[in-house]
Amino acid sequence: MSHKPPVRNVPGFTTEEVVSKIGFCEQLKGGVVMDVIDAEQARIAEDAGACAVMALERVPADIRKHGGVARASDPTIIEAIQKAVSIPVMAKVRIGHFVEAQMLEAMEVDCIDESEVLTPADEQFHVDKRVFKTPFVCGCRDLGEALRRIHEGAALIRTKGEAGTGNVVEAVRHMRALMSQIRALRGMDQKGLERTASELRVPVELVGWVAEHGRLPVPNFSAGGVATPADAALMMQLGAEAVFVGSGIFKSGSPEQRARAIVRAVTHFEDPKVLVEVSKNLGEPMVGIDINTLPQQERLAGRGI
């Protein structure tokens, strides 16, 4: 008799994709993914206890400052970072730019972030993530965006927040929206689920899965504006299972110390005493931006809906 242990069933994913793509993302839980722009920063991140790094040419704060079209990083930078560390290396592609994604897969990047932080390449379609063997992470502002990305094949969802601002308010808004919409599905009858599915433009099976389990079928992380250990713990208490920190670490006064503190804050997110301890003497945090002063065209979260 053949023994096939039952694996959770996720609409639109094969059993193998559930264990190998989503399973990879599960390994990152309780951890911190840090943005790095070179091998030295990557080593600092690994030494501080990052569970993965995001290889970039410029962190989001500098993308904002620099302006122009932000594209996938030079492969040389990604390769140097892959050589420097033993933890997973992620990299970003422009929304809809499936050729940049093909290139990252050819480089065996561990996870691809189809990211609103870069300038979108396609205003209508996201990358068809199902045809890739590499797991994808995508940003969302609410349940509709999350489920559309999962339907396209994303194995990991993160809040968009407002990257490069050092201001957590948008990440909080997006996580709260997501969680309250998930809660609202519980106990909904079939007609309600069908209506919701049609409003969100996703298959009813996916909405039904969320209603039944009370969560997304893939891990749910937070990103966009996390600058302090308290910000990271806030996102975890609001329901994130891990945290991406972009500009918050290497745009601060003492990156090593801040990186270590945020790693510890994510493990002990429910223990205010530990949070007090790790928050002492961290030096200057990155300078934040009030979202209300950002003109609409400079807000990244509205990209790729």
Partner: protein, 203 residues
């Protein structure tokens, strides 16, 4: 289960499915009164840093040597190995194996593979994710399953260690085997309360 970082929630679900009660271990005090211990998958470098900063390296070592059943998967196996390569890193040295981190390649090479074993049901598979590769086993290390020629499930004393992730499936025979060991240990130690009902794990 050690809950510093990694897929401890998946282990918890898999063990609850087998009828065991679970507790998350984030500090030394959490180690008191356990009937078994799980070192989950995740990033071994992250876990090493946190074990140091929480001053848990010694207390966890004592718990691992106490003779209670231990299940270690992926990163957990790396923490226990005698020797770790690619790169060299510190480990407890309680499992007489040499292990190469990411020995099967990056995530692109992850996947589910057939296991060859005399002790697992025929057709049992294992999901390998950026998995460590065991290149050498020493005396006292029993190989329970192989992927092609490589040992991927090993036992040494009370430690059961897998390069793959049984916790990603409910009722995987490796989880069932560990759950049975926890029950036997709890029973022998007269601590029936620490292990729960003898629910069938489906394996």
């Amino acid at each position: 289960m050690l809950a510093l970082q990694g897929d401890f929630a998946e282990h918890e679900a898999a063990l609850r499915h087998c009828g065991l009660r679970c507790r998350q271990v984030r500090r030394s005090a959490d180690l008191v009164g356990l009937a078994g211990l799980v070192l989950p998958g995740g990033e071994s470098t992250t876990m090493l840093k946190l074990l140091d900063v929480e001053q848990m390296w010694q207390p966890l070592g004592a718990a691992l040597r106490s003779g209670m059943p231990v299940l270690a998967t992926c990163a957990g196996l790396i923490l226990l190995a005698e020797r770790v390569e690619n790169p060299n890193q510190r480990s407890y040295g309680l499992l007489p194996v040499t292990v190469v981190r990411n020995g099967y390649g990056r995530q692109y090479h992850s996947g589910t593979f057939a296991l060859v074993s005399d002790v697992l049901p025929p057709g049992t598979t294992g999901t390998f994710i950026r998995a460590p590769r065991i290149t050498h086993t020493g005396p006292g290390c029993e190989v329970l399953a192989r992927r092609d020629d490589d040992p991927v499930l090993v036992r040494s004393g009370a430690i059961l260690a897998a390069c793959f992730h049984p916790e990603l499936a409910l009722g995987h025979p490796v989880t069932a085997r560990f759950a049975a060991a926890v029950r036997a240990h709890a029973g022998a130690a007269g601590r029936g309360a620490a292990a729960a009902t003898a629910a069938d794990c489906g394996a």
